[in-house]
Symmetry: C2
Subunit: 144 residues, 2 copies
DNA sequence: TTGGGCACTTACCAAAAGGTGCATACTTGT
DNA sequence: ACAAGTATGCACCTTTTGGTAAGTGCCCAA
């Protein structure tokens, strides 16, 4: 409440120390976060992962309907990549009207768990986020 | 070790229950995760966020050098979006040779914290991830 | 005087991501 | 007989994203 709140003083109260470090290591990745991002980049992957995580083995059609607005092409494509990356397991029952379902591998499940905080964050701050987005739309639509 | 391990039995041992739910709510978002993704989508945003989180207020040039391989265009662009989304705060000291730094807002900091598990996941599973990527490269280079 | 650093900005382009729609092979429901 | 559902595959095209390179205004050091 003093005159100068431009600096650390008041922020220090709300913002804890720097957040843990992001071990800058091995192969071609600058850090763990980087590695993770390579695997979950893609408009639908986190959502797919998360959805499968919640429902257990999930049939293709269910996913399709659940992840609203995703096209077949995209869904299949992302599922293949997730499978190739060892995050999901595809089970084809080789039945006459095709039946296939997808489930998480242990690796995939661990990633899904790491996604939980992001999900919570979104839920908690959804109001802020949607406000910001609304404003953007307003300008894009109305004035410049 | 029995004959049929196609179903829940053995998975149940390693894979805990379905992971918490992803409250499907309000505006145009299907769930919290969706909302979060709208805000951190972009090749460099999580990295920028994370870097600023670790270093406290960071000058433009430092970021530029830290987030290796990012171009001016991209860095600026993503910083502007992060700022517009209320995650980072830009401070312009209006000095003669320009001096500007970026820090996290409380909102940004909370997001950065939610990113920590992803970072840890990447660190822990970096071996798996890089193996998979190496295999991909192998085919892209050699066969097919 | 030339060169470099600072924090950007702009124009132009290539690549990646994503969307639409049609096709398949077979079955079940009307 | 015909439509619909099942899990994809494929061709084509648009949008989005990201990269390169050059420029800006100002100051300091060589």
């Amino acid at each position: 409440m003093s005159s100068d709140l431009s600096e650390p003083t008041f922020l220090a109260a709300q913002i804890p120390p720097p957040v843990q470090s992001c071990t800058p290591s091995l192969p071609g990745f600058t850090c763990g976060l980087d590695a993770t991002l390579r695997v979950i980049a893609g408009k639908w992957k986190p959502l797919i992962l998360y959805f499968v995580a919640q429902g257990g083995p999930t049939r293709y059609g269910e996913l399709r309907r659940a992840v609203r607005d995703v096209s077949d092409k995209m869904l299949i494509q992302q599922l293949k990549e997730l499978e190739a990356d060892g995050l999901v397991k595809r089970t084809d029952y080789k039945e006459v009207p095709p039946r296939v379902d997808y489930s998480l591998t242990p690796l995939g499940h661990s990633l899904a768990e790491a996604l939980v905080p992001l999900c919570s964050w979104g839920t908690e701050h959804m109001a802020d986020v949607s406000r910001v987005f609304a404003e953007r739309e307003t300008w894009n639509t109305k004035g410049r």
